[in-house]
C-alpha cells in the first residue's frame, strides 16, 4: 500500500478487463461512495423525526404502543400555556447557553492570546488545557459534585478559611444553575481556546508588528487587526459551542439527577423533554416540546449564520 507512487509508472499498464459492476460503480462513484453514510443518517433521522412530529399531534401516553388519538395542536397549546415547567425551562436553556457561550468566548480568547507565542513548557500547558475537554462529562459532573459539596467540598472550605460565608452551590435552589454553568465553562472553554489558537497561528505576526510600529495600542491591534482576521474561527467556535450548550444534558443529569433537581432548578428543555419521555412516558407532550426545542436550535443556527453573513 505504502508503495503507491506519485510518478506514473514507466511500464505501460495492461488494462485489466473491468467487470460491469466495477464499471457501473466507478461511473456512479459520487453516489456509490456517499450513499451508505447518507442512507444511514437519513434512516436514523427522518423516520424518527416524522414519528416524533406525529406523536406530538396525539395524546400518546404510558406506552408508545397504546391506543392514541389524533388531537391536533392541543399538545402545543398546553405546552405554550405551561408556565410551571415549559417556560422556565426555555428561560434556563437560554440563560445557560447565553451565559456559558459569552464566558467561554471571552475566556477562550484570553487563553488563546496568552498561549499564542512560543514559550518554554508550552507543551505541558497545552496538555493541561486539553484535559477538561476530553474528560467524560458524567465523570466531570461527579468530580465537581464533590468539590462543590456544601459540607465536605474543598470550595466551601477555602471560602470559609478566607472569611467568606459558605455557599450552597449545587444544593441551592438559586445557585444550582449558575454552578452547573461554571462546570460547563471549565470543561468547554479549552475547546474555544484551541479553535482560536489554531486560527491565531494562521495570522502572520508581521501584521501585528506593522500595526505596533504605526503606534497602535495593544487593544487597538487586537480590535482592528487580530479580531477581524480571526473572525471565521470565532464563528466556528460560537456555532459548535452554541449548539452543544443548547443540548447540554450529561453535566446537568450527573449533578442534579432527574428533572433537574427536586425544584427543577436546572431543568433545561433537553432535560425536561427527557423527563417527559422516559420518566413520565408522556410521549405526546414530550414530542411537542422536542419539536419546539428543535425549532429553537434551528432558529439559533439560522440567526448565527445570517448575522455573520451581514458582517
Amino acid at each position: 500500500m505504502s508503495t503507491a507512487t506519485a510518478t506514473p509508472r514507466t511500464v505501460p499498464h495492461t488494462t485489466r478487463p473491468q467487470s460491469s459492476v466495477s464499471r457501473w460503480a466507478n461511473h456512479n462513484r459520487k453516489w456509490v461512495l456517499a450513499a451508505p453514510a447518507m442512507i444511514f443518517t437519513a434512516a436514523m433521522i427522518l423516520f424518527p423525526l416524522g414519528w416524533t412530529l406525529y406523536l406530538s399531534l396525539t395524546n400518546a401516553k404510558g406506552s408508545v404502543r397504546a391506543e392514541k388519538e389524533f388531537i391536533g395542536f392541543d399538545n402545543y397549546a398546553s405546552v405554550f400555556a405551561d408556565t410551571a415547567r415549559f417556560w422556565p425551562a426555555v428561560g434556563r436553556t437560554l440563560f445557560f447557553t447565553g451565559g456559558t457561550l459569552v464566558a467561554q468566548l471571552v475566556l477562550g480568547m484570553v487563553i488563546a492570546l496568552l498561549l499564542r507565542k512560543n514559550f518554554r513548557g508550552q507543551g505541558f500547558v497545552r496538555i493541561a488545557v486539553l484535559m477538561p475537554l476530553v474528560a467524560t462529562p458524567v465523570a466531570v459532573g461527579m468530580m465537581w459534585r464533590l468539590i462543590f459539596e456544601p459540607n465536605i467540598g474543598i470550595v466551601n472550605y477555602l471560602l470559609v478559611r478566607m472569611g467568606i460565608p459558605a455557599q450552597p452551590w449545587l444544593a441551592g435552589e438559586n445557585t444550582a444553575l449558575p454552578t452547573t454553568m461554571i462546570i460547563d465553562i471549565w470543561q468547554w472553554t479549552p475547546m474555544v481556546a484551541l479553535i482560536l489558537l489554531a486560527g491565531l497561528t494562521s495570522i502572520p505576526e508581521e501584521m501585528d508588528e506593522a500595526a505596533s510600529i504605526d503606534g497602535a495600542s495593544a487593544w487597538q491591534r487586537f480590535w482592528h487587526v487580530t479580531l477581524p482576521i480571526l473572525w471565521p474561527s470565532v464563528v466556528v467556535a460560537t456555532l459548535l459551542r452554541g449548539i452543544d450548550a443548547l443540548k447540554t444534558f450529561d453535566i446537568l443529569y450527573a449533578t442534579k439527577g432527574r428533572g433537574g433537581g427536586s425544584f427543577n432548578e436546572v431543568e433545561t428543555l433537553n432535560v425536561y423533554a427527557y423527563g417527559l419521555s422516559f420518566d413520565y412516558n408522556n410521549y405526546g407532550i414530550a414530542s411537542a416540546v422536542l419539536i419546539l426545542f428543535f425549532g429553537l436550535i434551528l432558529l439559533a443556527l439560522f440567526l448565527l449564520v445570517r448575522g455573520n453573513k451581514v458582517k
Binding site: 424518527p48 498561549l115 486539553l130 461527579m142 414530550a286 414530542s287 428543535f294
Partner: protein
C-alpha cells in the same frame, strides 16, 4: 516583538493560574479516589492521609465493572470502525464532488437533539428485539461518530491535492481504485485524527446508553450512577469509578495530543 517586563510577569502568573484551574479538579478527583470516606470528610487534612487502592478494588470487584469497561470499549471501537468504513468514502465523495448539501444531511445528526430520536428508536429497536443488545448501542453511537468523521475527513480531503489520484488514473487505476490505493494511504494522519476523536466521543457518550442499554450492556458513564444511593453517596467509590472512566481517554489525549487537537479544531481555520 517588544514586551514590557510587566506583561511578561502577568503572562507567567496567568499561565500558572490557568494550569491550576484546569488540572486541580482532576487532581482532586484522583486524590479523593485514594481515600476512604472518613478521610474525604476531613477536608482540613486533605493531603495528610495514607493513600489506598481500596476504592479501586471495590469498584473492580463489586459491580461487574470489568464488564462495563469492556462494553464501553467494544461499543466505541465498533461504532468507530463501522463509521470509518461508511464515513470516509462519503467524505471523499463529498469533498471531491463538492456535495455541500449532502454533507449537511450528515451534519444534521450533529444538530438534532438526541432525545427527539430516542423515543422512536426505542420503539423501533424494541420491536426488533434489539434494545439492550450491543447492536443498538453501536448504531446509536455511530450517530455520534459518523458526522464527526465526515466533518474531519472532508476537511482533510479538501486539503489533499487531486494530482496524485489523476496520475494514478492515467496509470490505469479506476477512480475508486485510485481512492483506495493512493488517497487512503496518504490519509493516515487524517484517519488517525478522525478515529481517535470518534472513539473519545463514543466512549464519553451518556444519553444513548442511558436509554438503550440494559444491565448487561451498560457502558461506564451509565455505570457510574451505581455509586449514588438514595440516602447516601459512596464518595470514594464514585471518585474511583469516575477516574476509571476518564483515565483511558486522558491517556489517549496525552499520547495523541496532536491528532486530538487537530480533530477538535478541524474547520476552524478555513471557516
Amino acid at each position: 516583538m517588544r514586551t514590557s517586563p510587566g506583561y511578561r510577569i502577568f503572562r507567567i502568573v496567568a499561565i500558572a493560574v490557568l494550569i491550576v484551574v484546569m488540572l486541580m479538579p482532576i487532581f482532586w478527583m484522583v486524590l479523593s479516589s485514594l481515600k476512604n470516606n472518613v478521610q474525604i470528610f476531613d477536608v482540613a487534612n486533605a493531603f495528610n492521609f495514607d493513600p489506598s487502592l481500596e476504592n479501586y478494588r471495590n469498584v473492580l470487584a463489586r459491580s461487574d465493572y470489568v464488564d462495563y469497561i469492556w462494553n464501553s470499549f467494544f461499543v466505541a471501537f465498533m461504532s468507530t470502525a463501522i463509521s470509518l468504513v461508511i464515513g470516509v468514502p462519503a467524505a471523499y465523495s463529498m469533498s471531491r464532488f463538492v456535495m455541500r448539501r449532502s454533507a449537511l444531511v450528515v451534519l444534521m445528526a450533529r444538530i438534532i437533539p438526541g432525545v427527539s430520536l430516542l423515543v422512536p428508536w426505542y420503539y423501533i429497536f424494541s420491536n426488533l428485539r434489539l434494545v439492550g443488545g450491543y447492536s443498538v448501542l453501536i448504531l446509536s453511537h455511530m450517530f455520534v461518530a459518523l458526522p464527526l468523521i465526515v466533518y474531519i475527513m472532508m476537511g482533510f480531503f479538501d486539503g489533499l491535492p487531486i494530482d496524485l489520484e489523476e496520475a494514478a488514473q492515467v496509470d490505469g487505476l479506476t477512480p475508486i481504485g485510485a481512492f483506495l490505493k493512493v488517497t487512503l494511504p496518504l490519509s493516515v494522519p487524517g484517519l488517525a485524527t478522525a478515529a481517535i476523536l470518534s472513539f473519545i466521543f463514543s466512549w464519553n457518550n451518556f444519553m444513548f446508553a442511558l436509554v438503550l442499554s440494559d444491565a448487561g450492556t451498560k457502558t461506564l458513564p451509565v455505570a457510574i450512577f451505581d455509586f449514588i444511593g438514595y440516602a447516601s453517596i459512596d464518595w470514594g467509590g464514585l471518585m474511583a469509578a469516575s477516574t476509571v472512566v476518564t483515565l483511558p481517554i486522558m491517556l489517549i489525549a496525552l499520547f495523541a495530543q496532536r491528532y486530538v487537537v487537530s480533530g477538535l479544531t478541524a474547520g476552524a481555520v478555513k471557516g
